[in-house]
């Protein structure tokens, strides 16, 4: 049973517009969430994280929102750039239950010029 779900396998956005990537989770013990970006033939790179004590975290063009009651988080990229085209993974961790992450299957974002 998938504990972290990214239900949209792909997303296409025009350059300059907002990209919104979604992630749902089922385990209420998850208290730390991260987003990673992955280019082909490279390892994932960390983008942004959020702890369950917050509902929003911003870093430049990237903002992550957490809705604990809905068990939902989203990554907003504003404005989107062609270099943002990559696969984005959502990951969740229950820090009190050991130190490991559960990853979603990823969403492929294409930003069109």
């Amino acid at each position: 049973d998938q504990q972290v779900k990214q239900n949209s396998p792909s997303l296409s956005v025009q350059e300059g517009r907002i990209s919104i990537l979604n992630c749902d989770y089922t385990n209420s013990m998850f208290d730390y969430f991260l987003w990673y970006k992955k280019y082909p033939a490279e390892g994932p790179t960390f983008l942004i994280s959020i702890s369950s004590i917050k509902d929003k975290n911003e870093d430049g063009r990237f903002t992550v929102f957490l809705n604990k009651s809905a068990k939902h988080l989203s990554l907003h990229i504003v404005p989107s750039q062609p270099g943002d085209s990559a696969v984005y993974f959502c990951a969740a961790s229950a820090r009190g239950q050991g130190f490991s992450f559960i990853f979603g299957k990823g969403t492929r974002l294409l930003v069109k010029p």
């Binding site: 990214q6 730390y32 991260l34 990673y36 033939a41 490279e42 390892g43 994932p44 790179t45 960390f46 994280s49 702890s51 993974f89 990951a91 820090r95 050991g98 130190f99 490991s100 992450f101 559960i102 990853f103 979603g104 299957k105 990823g106």
Partner: protein, 115 residues
Amino acid sequence: DAGITQSPRYKITETGRQVTLMCHQTWSHSYMFWYRQDLGHGLRLIYYSAAADITDKGEVPDGYVVSRSKTENFPLTLESATRSQTSVYFCASSVYWGQSSYEQYFGPGTRLTVT
């Protein structure tokens, strides 16, 4: 070079052979991880290590063995490779700051094909 490296980057082996994938990091991070990435599954944790000589199973440990005699190295061994272990393997390391934020740094990956 500083960072996290994996070797080999590409490997083709036969069913039943033993294969070891190497991972080396220069940051002295205490935590290290092995993941596999397969189509339709995303990244799945195989094993992780909190420090030298401390390892623990992840989501998909069967058929894999790890060791960590030194902080900087975390090899992953497939004792008898099977076709289902054809995958891209990623090593990662992390510093854990307790309740503060932490993140994982990933290596470039090893693409393993078992024929």
